[in-house]
Structure formats: C-alpha cells, structure tokens
Subunit: 224 residues, 4 copies
DNA sequence: AATGAATGAGGGTTCATTCAT
DNA sequence: TATGAATGAACCCTCATTCAT
C-alpha cells in the first residue's frame, strides 16, 4: 500500500516538469473542447464536470484551476466557439466587390448553408435554453454576434438599394428576415432530423431566390 | 383553459372553509399551470417540484398522485399548452373561403403574430432545449404539431397556385419558409427583448409582403 | 363536474346498506389475507398499504379503520396465520394412542412435511427478518408457538423413554433437534428452490429414521 | 479484517493533523464495517446510509464514491463477511487426517459452535429476509457458500462409509441434516436469546452424539 | 363504514465545489 | 500544476398516516 503511494509520488514529480512545459498554454482549450462536447451531448444542467474532466484526460480538480465555476466554463465555451466563427463570416461578406445579388447568392448563401450544417446548433440550443438564466451571457452574445450580424446584412441590403439593384423595402428594418430560415434549418436539424430529414441547402436556396425576387428592382421598370 | 382557471378561483373563494374539497377534476390542470410557470421560469432541470407544488398551493406529494414523474409532468405541460393551440389555428385557417392572398394576409398573419406574442415561447424554448433528451416527446410534437402545420401551409400554397394566384415555386417544398420569421420572433423575444426590442408584428407583415410579392403571378403577364 | 359528484354520492348511499350488512364481520380477515400476500411477496418494509388495500378491494383509508398502524396489521397477520396452525398440529399429535415411534413416524413426520411444504415459510421469513425490530411480537410468538411446540415434542420423547421405547438421551433437553431439519427445509425452499431443488419429504424421512435409530432402545438389550 | 482495523486506528491517531489522508485503500473496508453494524441493527430497508456514513466517520456522499447504490453496499457486506469465513472452515475440515468420527467431533463440531456463536447470525438473517429480493445475491451465496459446505460434509460422510466407520445411510443425500441444528441455534440466538437462553454448544454436542450413534457401524456386527 | 385526496417527513442519490497533498 | 478524496446541499420520489366528506 505504501509502496503504491510512493511510486505514484515519484511518477508525479518526474512528470511534472514535462507536462507543465508542454501543456501550460493548451489546458484551457482542451478543457473547453471537452466541455463543448459534454454540453453538446447533455445540455448545461446534465453535463457533469466529472465527465468534462475525463474527456479532457485530467482530474476534476484541475478544471477548477482554470474555470472558477461551471457557469464560467459554459461562458468560455460559448465565447470560444461562437465569436470567431461569426467574425470570420462577417469578414468574408464585407470583403466582396461583386454585385449585391452575387454577394448574397455567393458568400451569404454559402455562409448560411455552412452554419445550418455545422455543429453550431448545439451552442445555439444551449443559448436558447439557458439564455434566460444567464442574462450577461445573452447580452454578450447579442452584442458580439447578433448586432454585428444584423449590421452586416443591413449594410448589404442598403448597398443593393443604393446601387439600384434592389427596390426600397422595409426589409432594411428587419434583416432578421434574411437569416430566419437558417435558424429554422438549425433547429429542425437539431430536433427532427432523425424523424424527418430536411434538405437544408435547397431550402435556403429557395429562400434566397424568393427573397431576391421580392426585392430586386423590376427589369421592365427601366423600359420607358 | 381560461375558463378552467376562473372556475377554480371561484371555487377557492367559495370553499375556504373546507380543506379537502373534491378537486380531482381540477387538480391536474392546476398543477400543469403551476408547472408551466416553473418550467418557464427555470427550465426543465432547474425547476423544482417543491416549487411547482407551492405555486399550485398544494404539497409536493400530491403532485405525484397525478404525475408519476417530473418528466411526465413536463410532457403533460407540453401537450396541454401546445396541442390545442395549434389545432385551433389549423381550424381557423382551413375554414376560410377567401382569396389565398386574403387568407394569408388575414388569419395566417394574425396567427403568426399571435403565436409570436404569446407565452408559447416558453414551451418552444423548453422543446428546443430538452428535445434531444426526450425523443418520444419530440416525435409526438413533430407528429401532432409540425406535420399538421406544414400540411396546412402547403395546401394553402397549392391552393394559390391552382387558382392562378401564385406562380409555381419551390416554396411548396419548403413551407417552413413561411413560418421561419415567426420562429425568429419567438426566440428574439425570449432572449433579447429586454436588450433590444423588436417590432414583431411589423416584421411579420414585412415578411408576408415580401413573400407574396415573390410568389404572386405578375399582373403584367396578363396584359397581351 | 358537480353532476359527477352528486352521482357519486347517490351511489354511495345506495350501496352502503348492503355492503355494511354483508361485510361487517369479514373485513378484517379480508384485509389480513391481503396483507399476508403482500408481506409474503415484498417483505415488511417493501409492502405498501396501498397494495394491501387494492388486493382487498377496498380503499387505503379503510385499512386504518381496522388496524391502527402498519405494524398492528403485521402482527395481526402473524397471529392469524401462525397460531391456529400450530395449535392444530399440537392437538393432532397429543391425541394419538399409538407407539411413540408410530406417532413420530406418523403425525409428527406428516406435520413436519406439511409445514415444510406450506406457505408458512413466508411468515417464518418475516419473523426472522423483522423479529429484532418487534420484540413484543417475537415474545408473543415464542410464548404461543415455540414454547408449546417444544413442550409437545419433549412430552413425546419422555413418553417414549417412560414406555421403554427410547433410551434416555439428552435429546430431552433439546427438542429443537427434532424440528431443526424442518427449519432447514423451510429456509431452503424459500431461498434456493429455484436454483437447487431439495426433496424435503425424503430429507425429513431420513432425519426421522436416523433420529429414531439413535434413540431407540437397542433390541439386543432385551435378549438376556 | 482485524489487522485492517488496527492499521486504520494507528493511522488515525498518527494523522490527526491531516484532514485528507490518503485512505483510498482502507475506506471501503471501513464503510463495509460500518454498514455491517447498521444492517445488523436495523435490517436492510431500515438501515440509513446517513447512519452508515456517520458510523464510518465520513459524509454520506463519500459512501457513494465507493458503492454505487445501497444494494451494492449490501452485497459487499455479505461478500466480505461470509465468504472468507466459510472458506476458512472448509479448509480446516479438509486438512485433517484423523478418524472421520474424530474430525466430526473435532473441527466440524468446533466450527458449528463457532458459527452458532458468531455474529454471522446477522448476515444470515439479512440473507433470509432479503434473499427473495436479491436473486443474484442468493445465487452467489448458494454457489460460493452452500454448495461448498454441502460438498465438504458429503465427502466427510462418504469417507466414513468408505473406511467402514459408518454404515451407508441416506444421510449422504442430505448433508443438510448435519448442519441443521447449527441453523436453529443461529436463529434461536437471534430471536429468543433474551427471552429464553439456549445452551447452543450442548445442543450441538447432543446432535453430533446422536447423529454418530445413528450412522456408526454397529460394533456387534464384528462379532461372528 | 368507507373513501381517496392530501400531507410531509424521510431516504437514496447526484454533483458542483473544496482542499490537503 | 495537478490530483482525487471528501463534503454537503439539494432534489426526486415514496408512502404511512390523516381527515373531511
């Protein structure tokens, strides 16, 4: 028995140096990855820190070294997984020099398809489920993701109108309408996919078709 | 549902003397109401049956007389609150004899506004959050609500096409596109309403406007 | 709702007279029977009064009219099922006029076989299991059943010795030795019967054979 | 077992300063000891894990670190206390080289006295009481303890017959008859000891006397 | 006599969190 | 940094018991 303990201690000392060197920077991310999986699989309340820890291959106690509480860890997951993705998307959209229609049919549609197909559902579900219990997180999310997303889309619509491609419509007031089907796709996949598959990509294409049809300046209007 | 509540209140006041009035018929509904509030406020995992009980003005044990487990109670809440509402909506829509456009601008839009403004958000949130953990409930919900809703809308679109009001579009394949903004409205209200109000009604009107614009048979096509 | 209540009341009044007449005397026994089954199936702690009541075809409340507590009911079961049986056995044994050996090979062995095969196991198990928690019951059981049983057997042995059939042995001090195999049979059946059947009757016959062989006056002793 | 306890005590005194000494190796045994006491005093259903924990000087939660459920703990108690004892007994009996009669009057009788006097009653009571509810435990017990015990005794009888010490009797078929009085002694002590003491040792001696008398080859058979 | 709605204490179990090492 | 033993509060659920009718 004592032998066992001593051996363990020796190992620990021998391994400490190496591990520390190698892992110092990576630990939090490893934990966040593991937590993402756990939260994704179980939801916030059902996710157990024990399982997060073993998924990350560490002890439960170590989780607390990096994240003060379960809630902090949850927030870290949301931040880590949502923000960079959305930032990337926004960048891609803004950069383009094409026709507005081309941008919408191109990067915007692609982005929507991508999001609808990604594992972001999981985070979204968490957000919808836990949002009311984490007001600061919701607020953060709104500020960092939603506001920016809305702004990008609104600019795009305004750009189309300014260039005479689109007729002025109240869509400017409600850019949410552009992304609404993406949300439906996400939720559908999360809930009903096993029962009733939905061709998300085709649906989004149809949506963009109809939307453009509705807002494009009618060609015959140019004929005097 | 409201009728039930009123009766209950009357009984309560009238019967303050008796401790043990025969409530068997009303109890389940009372408990379901209370549970709805609890689940709405806390989410499934955080809702405590103790609190459900005190909200209903009864003891914890009595909850278990009517609902075998917390999960059963949850399912009862979903059934009670969702199914009748959706059934009513479907009926209202099907009954009409108007132009398809009139139906959409009338009962359909009204319904969407109503749903978006109602407390159904709460149930929807629960469903999205807990869905993956309650496959039978999700399946039930899909069968009873979603399938029917989709069918109603699809019929409506087909009706418009058949009557020459609408041009044929792939919208028929994706009736979800019609209700997508309602979902966004629901979720927005649930999450961001305190931060950033959204004129749900106006958004839905805009949506219907654009959608009809996109699918209506162009009038100039009739001019020879 | 009110209609329902009124109907129920009417029924009740109509049926009360008949039921009372017929059941007054039988109720306790019916309940005891039901309780025996329940205790037998589940053990004391696991037996639920709800199930006892429905087994008896009555409401839970009525059980409390006849038996103040669960424990009282348990005691009633033990009394009702054990005492009369043992009394009957004792009577049967005492009445005989045969050789002591004949009595032992006849009624005693028969009785032991009978007991070993009967559902008394159940009560015995309850007694062994719950005994230490119900000292008064144990004491009652010892006084009413054990003491008498021991006395009957001791008298029988003494009778054999007095008549010169048996040689004097310390068996007189320990009549328990005569019934010990019956106990083993009971317990074996209760625990291991499904795994490893035991021919209880043959075992008891063997036991009696050996016992008589051991205590009978050797025949050659009579030869001068 | 005793060794374990002593070590534990020493550690405790030596380590009063440390709150969190590494006890992993000893904890389970400590808990099992405490549980044995609890189950013995209250029976399975009435034993509270809270009390087990405080008896062991730990918190309730820690019990669950080592034993998944109350039932697991119960099984651990049975395994820990029964198996080693019976194994020891079997070993002791098999080793001997004496006359079969000497073995029976020696180690076998001693063993039976020992068991009858030990606290094994408690476990036996638990087994009888809970057996029907824990079929796997019963089966385990039958396989590990009963079968082996029966086999040992049967071999002993056969040995006596083979060596001409015993005459052939159906006792071979029912080795249970050899230990039956031990069972009676156990149960008697458990239930009636406070009311009506029984000289267990004397009873077992009488039993062995009578049994040997019954099966020994009659000496006059040697006289031509 | 009979009902059954209602109670509430109590127990098994889980798990986020702490802390000595 | 890293461990994992240990804690304890909290929650779901059960059921003997009561009591108005």
């Amino acid at each position: 028995m004592m032998v066992g303990i001593e051996i363990r201690c020796i190992n620990r000392e021998a391994g400490t140096v190496v591990r520390n060197e190698r892992r110092k920077g990576q630990r939090p991310d490893e934990i966040i990855d593991a937590a993402f999986e756990e939260f994704a699989a179980k939801g916030y309340a059902e996710a157990r820190l024990d399982d997060v820890a073993s998924r990350a291959g560490i002890s439960k106690g170590l989780v607390y070294v990096y994240f003060k509480t379960k809630e902090e860890l949850f927030k870290a997951v949301v931040r880590t997984f949502l923000i960079p993705r959305f930032a990337a998307l926004a960048g891609r959209i803004e950069a383009s020099e094409d026709t507005t229609e081309a941008i919408i049919r191109g990067p915007v549609l692609a982005t929507m398809k991508e999001v609808a197909a990604s594992r972001l559902v999981i985070i979204l579900r968490l957000l919808i489920a836990e949002g009311p219990k984490h007001p600061d997180l919701t607020e953060f999310y709104h500020r960092e993701v939603i506001t920016r997303g809305i702004a990008v889309i609104r600019q795009l619509i305004d750009r189309g109108v300014a260039r005479g491609e689109f007729r002025p419509t109240p869509l400017t007031r409600f850019p949410q309408l552009v992304v609404a089907p993406m949300l439906v796709a996400l939720i559908w996949r999360s809930l009903f996919d096993s029962i009733d598959k939905l061709d998300t990509a085709a649906m989004l294409e149809t949506h963009i078709d109809l939307l453009l049809h509705a807002i494009k300046t009618p060609p015959e209007a140019n004929v005097p």
